[in-house]
C-alpha cells in the first residue's frame, strides 16, 4: 500500500490521460477548456504528491525502479513544464480547431514516460519510458498536419527510431558484458562494455541533441507547431538529461572506466556548434533550436563533474534544467502570443518595432532572451554561474573558459531580436491579436520565476541539493 502512495505522482498522469482520452471520445461535445482544466488539475495533483513524496524520502521498489529525491524533483519539474506547455497552447489549438483530448493525453503520457526515465534503475524501464515519450513526441510534431509539421514528424520519427535502435543495441551489449540489465551491474567483459557504452552514449546523445547527433534538432523544432516546440525544448529535453544522468551515474558506479574526456569533448563541441550555428539565423524559432543545442552543451558540464561529486552535479543540473524550462518556455510563449490564427510569425522582421507597439510583451521577451544569454539578475545567470562554479571547484578550468567564451558569443544572437524590437521599424501592418489570457498568464508566471530564480536562488538551491 505504501508503495502505491509513493508512486502516486507517477501513476496519476497516465490515469488522467486515459480518462481524458475516453471522455473525449465518449462525449464529443465536451469543450476543450474543461479537458484542459482536468489535465492541469491532474498535473497539479502530481506536483502535490511529488512534493509529499519528496518530503517523505526515498522508497525503493523491487529491483527496477527507485523513488528517490531526484525522481520526485524531476516529476515536479516535468509537471510544471507540462502544465505550462498545455496552458500556452490553448489559443493555438482553439484557433486552428485541432482536437483537444489526444493532445492533452499525449502530453500526459509523455510526462509518464519522463517519470519512468527518472525512476528507472535498469535499462528496460529507462527504455520503455524513453519510447513512451518519444512516440508521443513524434505524433505531436505532426499535430497540425500542414506540410512542415508532417515533415518534422517524419524526420523526427526516422531519426529517433534509428537512435532508439542504437541505444537498444548498446543495451544488448551491456547485457552481454554484465549478464544483467541493472545500471549498477559490474562488467565481466571489459571489451564488450566499451562497445556497449559507446552505443548507449551515442543513442542518449541523440536524444539530448549533443554534438555529432544534433542535426535533427533545427528542422524538427522549426517544423513542429510552436507549443509543441516549446514542449520539446522543455519537458523532452529535461527527461532526456535526467535519463543520461541516471545512466552515467549508475554506470560509473560499477565501472573503473573513465570517460570524462569524452564528456568534456562532447560538451565543448555541442555548445560551440549550437552558438556558431545560431549566429545568423533569421527565423527566431530556428535560432532558439540552435540555442537549445548550445544549452545542452552547457548542461553536459554537469556530467563531467558527476564523476567527482554526484550531489553537486545533480543539484547544478536540476537547477539549470528548471531555469532553462522557465526561460525557454517564456521565449516560445512570446512567439505563440504573436502568432496568428493561421500562420506563425517567427522571423526577425515580425518582431521589429514590437517595443513601441506593445511594450510589455517586448519587455518580457527581452527578459527571457537576456536570461538565455545569461545576464546577471536572471535565472539564466545563476544557473550558469552555479554550474561553472561546480566545474571550477573540481579543476576543469579550460572547460569553464570554453563555456564562458561560448556564452559571450551567444550574446550576439540573443540581442538581435532585442535590437529589432526596440530599434527596428515594422515592415507590414499587422494588428496585434486580442489579449490571450492563458498565454499571458504563462508569460507572467515565467517572468516572475526567472526573476525569483535570479534574485533569490538560495531556497531552491537548498531544496535541489538534497
Amino acid at each position: 500500500m505504501n508503495i502505491l502512495i509513493q508512486s502516486l505522482p507517477l501513476l496519476i498522469m497516465p490515469a488522467v490521460a486515459a480518462f481524458i482520452l475516453l471522455i473525449g471520445a465518449m462525449w464529443r461535445r465536451i469543450s476543450g477548456e474543461s479537458l484542459l482544466i482536468m489535465a492541469v488539475a491532474g498535473l497539479v495533483a502530481a506536483l502535490f504528491f511529488g512534493w509529499q513524496g519528496f518530503l517523505a524520502g526515498t522508497a525503493s521498489f523491487p529491483a527496477d525502479i527507485i523513488f528517490d529525491k531526484i525522481f520526485y524533483l524531476t516529476v515536479i519539474i516535468i509537471a510544471i513544464a507540462l502544465a505550462l506547455a498545455m496552458l500556452v497552447s490553448y489559443n493555438y489549438l482553439a484557433e486552428r480547431k485541432l482536437p483537444w483530448p489526444e493532445y492533452l493525453a499525449l502530453l500526459l503520457f509523455a510526462g509518464f514516460g519522463a517519470g519512468l526515465m527518472a525512476a528507472g534503475t535498469d535499462f528496460i524501464v529507462l527504455f520503455i519510458g524513453l519510447e513512451t515519450i518519444s512516440i508521443a513526441a513524434y505524433v505531436l510534431a505532426g499535430y497540425t498536419r500542414d506540410g512542415s509539421s508532417k515533415e518534422a514528424s517524419i524526420k523526427y520519427f526516422l531519426m529517433g527510431a534509428f537512435a532508439s535502435a542504437v541505444l537498444l543495441f548498446g543495451i544488448a551489449f551491456f547485457y552481454g558484458a554484465t549478464g544483467s540489465v541493472l545500471l549498477s551491474a559490474a562488467p565481466i567483459n571489459k571489451l564488450l562494455m566499451v562497445l556497449a557504452l559507446a552505443l548507449i552514449i551515442s543513442g542518449a546523445a541523440f536524444k539530448v541533441a549533443a554534438f555529432p547527433f544534433q542535426w535533427w534538432t533545427p528542422d524538427v523544432y522549426e517544423g513542429s507547431p510552436l507549443p509543441v516546440t516549446a514542449f520539446f525544448a522543455t519537458a523532452v529535453k529535461a527527461a532526456a538529461f535526467i535519463m543520461l544522468f541516471r545512466i552515467v551515474a549508475g554506470i560509473s558506479g560499477g565501472l573503473g572506466l573513465k570517460f570524462e574526456s569524452l564528456l568534456i569533448a562532447l560538451s565543448v563541441a555541442t555548445m560551440t556548434f549550437g552558438n556558431l550555428a545560431a549566429l545568423f539565423q533569421e527565423n527566431i524559432k530556428r535560432m532558439l533550436a540552435y540555442s537549445s543545442i548550445a544549452h545542452a552543451g552547457y548542461m553536459l558540464i554537469a556530467f563531467v563533474v558527476l564523476g567527482k561529486d554526484a550531489n553537486l552535479a545533480g543539484a547544478a543540473l536540476l537547477f539549470y534544467i528548471l531555469a532553462y524550462i522557465v526561460m525557454s518556455m517564456g521565449a516560445f510563449g512570446v512567439l505563440i502570443y504573436l502568432s496568428g490564427g493561421e500562420k506563425e510569425f517567427c522571423n526577425m522582421p515580425d518582431v521589429a518595432g514590437l517595443g513601441r507597439r506593445s511594450p510589455w510583451l517586448a519587455a518580457v521577451f527581452g527578459l527571457f532572451l537576456l536570461s538565455l544569454a545569461g545576464f546577471p539578475p536572471t535565472a539564466g545567470f545563476v544557473a550558469k554561474f552555479y554550474l561553472f562554479k561546480s566545474a571550477m571547484a573540481h579543476g576543469y578550468v579550460l572547460l569553464v573558459i570554453a563555456a564562458v567564451i561560448n556564452s559571450l558569443i551567444s550574446v550576439y544572437y540573443y540581442m538581435r531580436p532585442v535590437v529589432a524590437m526596440y530599434f527596428g521599424e515594422f515592415q507590414q501592418e499587422r494588428s496585434l491579436p486580442k489579449i490571450r489570457y492563458s498565454v499571458a498568464g504563462v508569460l507572467i508566471f515565467c517572468a516572475i520565476f526567472v526573476i525569483i530564480l535570479g534574485l533569490a536562488p538560495a531556497t531552491i538551491l537548498a531544496i535541489l541539493s538534497h
Binding site: 486515459a18 482520452l21 475516453l22 471520445a25
Partner: protein, 125 residues
C-alpha cells in the same frame, strides 16, 4: 529442437502440396500463354486505366492497429500458456492481476478506437 520436427514436416508437406498443384496444372492445363492472353479483359478495348489503384489510408490505420494488438497478444502468450503452472507455484493471484491490468490498459485503447469511429467506413470520418 526436436519439438520443431512437426513444424518441419508441415513445411515439407506444404511445399510438396503447393509444388504438386503447380506442376500438375503446368502439365495438364493448356500451356499456350501469350502476353495478349494475360492482359486484363476489358470488353475488347485497349486497357484504359491501370488495374492498380491506391487503397484508402484507413487500411493502413487498421493494419497499424492490428500490429499493435498483435504485439499485445504475443506478450500475453506466455501468460496464457503457463498460467496453470504459475498457480501451482502459488503465484496465481499475482499473475492473474498482472495480466488483467495489462489487458485493462489496452482495453482503454480498444474503447477509444471504437468511439473515435475510425472503423466506420461509410461516413468518411
Amino acid at each position: 529442437m526436436l519439438s520443431y520436427v512437426p513444424v518441419l514436416i508441415l513445411f515439407i508437406f506444404a511445399l510438396l502440396l503447393g509444388g504438386a498443384f503447380v506442376f500438375l496444372s503446368y502439365f495438364l492445363g493448356r500451356p499456350k500463354k501469350t502476353t495478349t492472353k494475360l492482359n486484363p479483359y476489358e470488353c475488347g478495348v485497349e486497357q484504359a486505366t491501370l488495374p492498380r489503384i491506391p487503397v484508402n489510408i484507413k487500411f493502413f490505420a487498421v493494419a497499424l492497429m492490428f500490429l499493435l494488438f498483435d504485439v499485445e497478444v504475443a506478450l500475453l502468450y506466455p501468460w496464457a500458456a503457463y498460467f496453470k503452472s504459475m498457480v501451482s507455484e502459488g503465484l496465481g493471484t499475482f499473475v492473474l492481476i498482472e495480466g488483467l491490468i495489462f489487458i485493462g490498459i489496452l482495453f482503454v485503447a480498444l474503447v477509444y478506437i471504437f468511439r473515435t469511429g475510425i472503423l466506420h467506413w461509410e461516413n468518411g470520418k
